[in-house]
Homo-oligomer: 489 residues x 2
Amino acid sequence: MTAIAAISSTTDAELESFLAAAHRAAGPLAALRPAERAALLDHLADALDSAADQLIPVAERETNLPEARLRGELKRTTFQLRLFGEVLRDGAYLDARIDHADADWPMGAPRPDLRRILVPLGPVVVFAASNFPFAFSVAGGDTASALAAGSPVLLKAHSGHPVLSRMTGEVVTAALSAAGAPEGAFALVTGTAAGSAALRDARVKAGAFTGSIPGGRALFDIAYSRPEPIPFFGELGSNNPAFVTRAAAAERCTQIAEGFLASVTLGAGQFCTKPGMLFVPAGSGVVEALRNATVPPAAALLNERIQSGYTAVLSALRTNPRVEVLIQGEAPLATPPSPTVLLTTAADVLAEPQTLQTECFGPAAVVVTYDDESQLPELAQTFEGQLTATIQGTESCNVGDLVEVLASKAGRVVWNQWPTGVSVTYAQHHGGPYPATTSVASTSVGTAAIDRFLRPVAYQGFPQHLLPDALREDNPLGLARLVDGRRIG
Amino acid sequence: MTAIAAISSTTDAELESFLAAAHRAAGPLAALRPAERAALLDHLADALDSAADQLIPVAERETNLPEARLRGELKRTTFQLRLFGEVLRDGAYLDARIDHADADWPMGAPRPDLRRILVPLGPVVVFAASNFPFAFSVAGGDTASALAAGSPVLLKAHSGHPVLSRMTGEVVTAALSAAGAPEGAFALVTGTAAGSAALRDARVKAGAFTGSIPGGRALFDIAYSRPEPIPFFGELGSNNPAFVTRAAAAERCTQIAEGFLASVTLGAGQFCTKPGMLFVPAGSGVVEALRNATVPPAAALLNERIQSGYTAVLSALRTNPRVEVLIQGEAPLATPPSPTVLLTTAADVLAEPQTLQTECFGPAAVVVTYDDESQLPELAQTFEGQLTATIQGTESCNVGDLVEVLASKAGRVVWNQWPTGVSVTYAQHHGGPYPATTSVASTSVGTAAIDRFLRPVAYQGFPQHLLPDALREDNPLGLARLVDGRRIG
């Protein structure tokens, strides 16, 4: 592992060698059996766990995040790698389908023998995020799901944690090599120019990104304006509104205020799922409960760029005549900033939704008072696409219409919990309509994330010995498959 | 049903009313139970079958296609609608997933109750094709799969069969209305400007297209440069190369020549899966068998625009010094054109692949002689993304490397059959890397086509009565679901 040193940008010659190697690795990586790729991921997870004591101090120094959070995040990261190993061993992700030849197929023409399976797209460029230096960075969810799919990864490191990126990249490369992965299955790329050059290269077949709306859109535009456009899975920005019904406020107003404040300030508010706006019934006591709450202490943001972005957006919001300060700590615009909660009304949000709903990345949020619960669906309609939307209600609340609107706006709808803390599971969906993501049907968290890096191929009339194992009649991988329209196994 | 009349373009006011109605219909159409939408599709299929005697003569007149072919195509079209009804009743397409809360989830944090399901994207603009006036037109595969998903359809009619489009549109509208579909679930749009205006409208959430590379790319660029980009599923162009091994040529040279010629001239060569290039071993007899074959008679092309495009591309190919005429009928460039097969060599293809592989939409193809079978993978590598690729081989042929290259280039690989005649099945894949399609992971034929118009939503911590039926613990729809990572049902 290298000592801490200046991190230089990837040169053109280095990038060419990475691209050529990734291109060469694509076939051999795709040709591994799913269980063989699972073993690679397990080995990588073990190597990262073993390197924790070297990686964590560097992460602390480069991100200002506390040790406990970073250790938890690394655990989540290695869990995720192992979970994709399980996905591979299960094999259902291949969506293997077999239609036997059928002379009487009611279409009006005989059906040929058709067998379909998902195969990897080919090399992927992954752009790492700053706010999760493990889980959405070098060995994070995009890397894990792309490697699981069988696609080589060119990882564009985030400049916010350069040494950690380099060190993690070395762990990944060494672990994959030791476990027998094809050379070129992973490479670390540094520098903005090298990242976008990789995305433009014809050998690259997809991009994945977590970050800001302008940055993500610029890369999206590159991906879709190439001579051969490629899928680009960008997770961009989200306000993550939360709606409190009158019954819920009456039942647990202090608990709601405290839960909201904790979610807003978790990780110093630097989560893409931080609730940025809370709708509360006027006169219900939630506003007062917030006013009486203990404001969490100031916490350093990830880096100077995040800090200056935060103070710029928050300053604009604070000086908006539609907004007043509800609570704030001693130094809301200082470094580090103490948390801020602003206050406005439903009428103001309806008058100027986009301005007031701007994502403020850091420990700030806006509380909105409304008069009548019947306004909530209309207020929900003012939002662009979201990663999450939350309802604090009671079993007796009449919120069917609100749920329907929120499900049309957001990838995940949360009931009586808070949106931060995205669990890695089979049913998780971390996505949503634009600008939450650039790819409305895909997720970057959970087992379905592997689907992004796969495409179908159908084999018609093939002899058994030339078929992929997953499609052979004797089913050597023991897969569950769709056979003549029925799930077998 | 209207009498044949001049078809006017959709006005701005009409388009606005269609868009507003589609937007209003999206919620109610999505809210129907899958089996209720299946009933709509069945009713629509019945209505189209009942209208066959009115529709077929108009189709014959507008497309120059023979009655038997058109009756077969209509049968395929109504079969397809009913097959999507089966997909809806089965319900597996919803990919319903339930993760119960788990305090000991090994990620390092308790897992909340998470439930995920696919929901419709919202209104879709479908651009009809000219070459399948039923199966890829008004009530074709894109319309069927979008309606099945629960997305309203704005159908941009193809100018090649305007009266048939109008008549079919009336059947669709009347059938959906009679079966109780929400008003606005379907509308017919005419005129290029109205089609692209619809694609630009913020209420439209996806586009689907079958047609030329330039036309499809222009619409693709509109969809992805919108303020809110939307998925665009374009099926554009394909050469569909076929490769004959020496052993296959030795075994059945006449059969291969005849099969190839029949596939090239099926539907007057106006299939997106027509084999445009045939690689044959030099001196193997396939060239001679083609020279001795009976050239099928001339057949009228769909319309003047197709005819002039065909003669332009074919003229350029014929005058290419790398190419000679192998066989042709009496009037290869006349209206109607007799079929043409050109001849060139592997060295010429390697020297000028893009020119010689240009799709020539109509009854023409290029035969390429090669010396050694070991050249085939390299020759296959010269192709851009394809809908199909075909091998004519024998069981003993050593073609593993060729199959691997072709599976990386094409969505469907065919063995000892021909690529025309795309069966509508569970395992079918009609797609492929760009420029075969603009969306490498999606298919426009087969049951998986429904996936294009769906996106996931996750519900976290929800009470049972607010969950969609598909996610309720008591499983009222009787679905197969992924529960805590295991498939149940």
